[in-house]
């Protein structure tokens, strides 16, 4: 495919008098992971809601595969191959895994008034797709609410891949996970990229972002701090810019005095700020 899968130009959104997002540019090609980074309230959620069709942008242009589009509903976005895996996962916890996997896109058989769900096939396809993503030992008949956070993420990603998504939006998929589970989810993110999807990966963890991302969009208080290719920015730089530079410089300075480098800055909170 030539040209980017997704291009945002000067996109903005206001809620009443509050401008949640303004003048954001982003480009994403197939087989690429674009990370969107920012602290809480930076506008990450607003941005993905625009791409996912939950909210419509007031300003700027959204292009999908070179075509200018207005995404008025999640259905619009889904029809254009944009799949979103939400932080809260968009699952119905009491429903079985297979029913969640196919929710809104049930496989049907039969004709006319006898048109009905092909449950046997849905169970089978769900099982196969999960196995293809390396998720094994999940009983697809179980309510999905009984799975672990990482498992649920992976079911959601497998679902998006199965339904031919070209653009996969992941809303903080690793935020609520432990170190090991987060690592597993990151592998599936890479697997999705390897299958030729464009991935928009929202996170506030620069370590996770830098490990998998090809380009990085930094947001702060609803404004873009720029979009960088991986070659242009180091993990240290990414962390610094994300934290707003100055504050982090201060912390680094304090820590530096104690002989702790910024690479180990994960324990910053212990010292208070």
């Amino acid at each position: 495919m030539s040209g980017p899968l997704l291009r945002l130009t000067g996109v903005g959104k206001s809620y009443g008098a509050v401008s949640a997002l303004a003048a954001v540019d982003l480009e994403l090609s197939a087989g690429e992971i674009a990370c969107v980074l920012g602290d809480n309230g930076a506008g990450k959620s607003t941005l993905i809601k625009i791409i996912a069709g939950v909210h419509e942008n007031d300003l700027g242009e959204v292009e999908v595969a070179g075509e200018a589009v207005r995404l008025r509903s999640p259905r619009d976005a889904i029809d254009r191959g944009i799949a979103t895996v939400y932080q809260d996962l968009a699952i119905a916890p009491l429903m079985p895994v297979w029913a969640n996997f196919f929710l809104g896109r049930e496989l049907l058989k039969g004709r006319g008034p006898l048109r009905r769900m092909d449950i046997t096939r849905m169970r089978q396809v769900c099982h196969e797709e999960l196995a293809a993503m390396g998720i094994e030992g999940v009983d697809v008949e179980r309510p999905i609410g009984g799975l672990s956070g990482g498992q649920r993420q992976c079911v959601a990603i497998a679902r998006a891949v199965h339904f031919g998504a070209r653009i996969l939006i992941l809303d903080e998929p690793t935020a609520a996970l432990g170190v090991k589970q987060a690592g597993v989810v990151l592998r599936y993110v890479l697997a999705a990229r390897a299958r030729g999807l464009g991935v928009v990966f929202i996170t506030h963890n620069p370590h996770h972002a830098h490990a998998v991302g090809d380009r990085f969009l930094l947001l702060q208080r609803g404004r873009s701090l720029g979009c960088f290719a991986k070659a242009e920015i180091s993990l240290e730089d990414l962390t610094r810019r994300m934290a707003g530079g100055v504050e982090l410089d201060q912390i680094t300075h304090e820590l530096g005095a104690r002989g702790v480098g910024p690479a180990q800055s994960a324990g910053v909170d212990a010292h208070g700020s």
């Binding site: 999640p74 968009a90 119905a92 929710l103 390396g134 030992g137 672990s148 697997a191």
Partner: protein, 360 residues
């Protein structure tokens, strides 16, 4: 596919070989029996059996086949709306206006036929349109405003109740509708909505057949149709359902209209069984429908329940109503029993769910 493999090798990603985290040895697989016990209608089935045995023991007339037929008839009159109310509850909403909507439908069909001196089927058809319209209005107001359906339908409940009384008084000058039994189409309408037939020497009301037919349809819709999957989803997780492209608003409006249909159906039964309609009836019936659905295992907050459960809930109801009569007790006790039953089943269900959660 080639591309996928190449990439996978290049980036050393082999998710297919990376499953150990997901086979959690601490999770024992549950035996099949406990899974069956875990179905939502299990409590209702146990309750139905207990209530049956209880009245079988204390009320000798309860044991007759003819009594069984009466019990089924009474159950069907509650059971038909209870099915629709159960679907709506699984879909996460309430309808408090369903009881008076039954009477509204009957009044409207009767008065339209009488005033237009038309075939009664004209009134029946127009009344169906109005009942579906009321359902659609309830649904539209709920999905459009986001106001809880409890409040929206509380409003329409009072409006319909008032309209029933005032409208009937305005048109007929009385609290009841005039007889329409000599009008065209009455006989055929009665055959559809309020006839009886003999099975092995016992007279069975046709509403029992309709009830079972609707129950089969509802079960099919919930378990086999894609729409059923959507009902569970909009009730259990409306935001998630919307996010994955389920038309949440259409599903909810459709469910409110289903309740409208069921109310209309029972209204037609009452009209053609009794020929005239009292404008003040129907108040409070909506709670019985809700109770039948809840006793049948529907989760009050949506996302769980079954049509079979609603059938069992209505059956428990019918058995209690008639059982009290057959036992020769004062029917004043009826409401007390229904309330105690509801409370008992809710406590039982809560206990079962806690037990399941502890085991899951």
């Amino acid at each position: 596919m080639m591309k996928y493999r190449d990439h996978a090798r290049a980036t050393e990603v082999r998710p297919a070989r990376e499953p150990p985290e997901f086979v959690d040895s601490r999770v024992a697989s549950r035996p099949p029996l406990s899974r069956r016990v875990a179905t939502p209608e299990a409590g209702a089935l146990a309750g139905a059996v207990l209530v049956y045995l209880f009245f079988f023991a204390v009320a000798p007339p309860f044991r007759d086949l003819a009594s069984l037929s009466t019990i089924l008839y009474v159950s069907s009159i509650y059971g038909i709306p209870a099915l629709a109310v159960a679907l709506l509850m699984i879909g996460g909403e309430f309808d408090l206006s369903s009881g008076v909507a039954v009477v509204s439908s009957a009044l409207l069909a009767s008065m339209l036929s009488y005033e237009l001196t038309a075939n009664v089927w004209v009134g029946v058809g127009l009344s169906l349109a109005a009942a579906l319209g009321i359902g659609a209005l309830n649904g539209y107001l709920v999905v459009r405003t986001g106001i809880p359906s409890f409040l929206v339908t509380l409003g329409t409940f009072f409006m319909l109740g008032g309209l029933n009384l005032a409208g009937t008084r305005l048109i007929t000058g009385s609290v009841a509708t005039p007889s329409i039994s000599d009008m065209d189409g009455f006989a055929s309408a009665r055959a559809v909505f309020a006839s009886s037939f003999e099975v092995g020497g016992v007279s069975v009301r046709v509403t029992v057949l309709w009830w079972l037919l609707f129950a089969a349809l509802a079960t099919w819709a919930l378990r086999r149709a894609a729409f059923g999957n959507w009902i569970f989803a909009v009730g259990g997780a409306p935001l998630s359902a919307r996010a994955v492209g389920v038309p949440v608003r259409r599903v909810k409006i459709g469910l409110f209209m289903t309740v409208g249909f069921a109310a209309w159906f029972v209204g037609m039964h009452q009209l053609f069984a009794f020929d005239t309609v009292q404008s003040g009836e129907g108040v409070g019936k909506e709670f019985y429908y809700i109770i039948a659905a809840v006793v049948g295992g529907c989760l009050l907050t949506g996302g769980q329940g079954s049509a079979v459960g609603a059938v069992l809930g209505a059956l428990i109801f019918g058995m209690t109503t008639q059982g009290i009569v057959y036992a020769g007790w004062n029917p004043d006790w009826f409401k007390f029993f229904v309330g105690a039953l509801l409370l008992g089943v809710i406590l039982l269900n809560a206990g079962v769910r806690r037990w399941q959660a502890a085991r899951a």
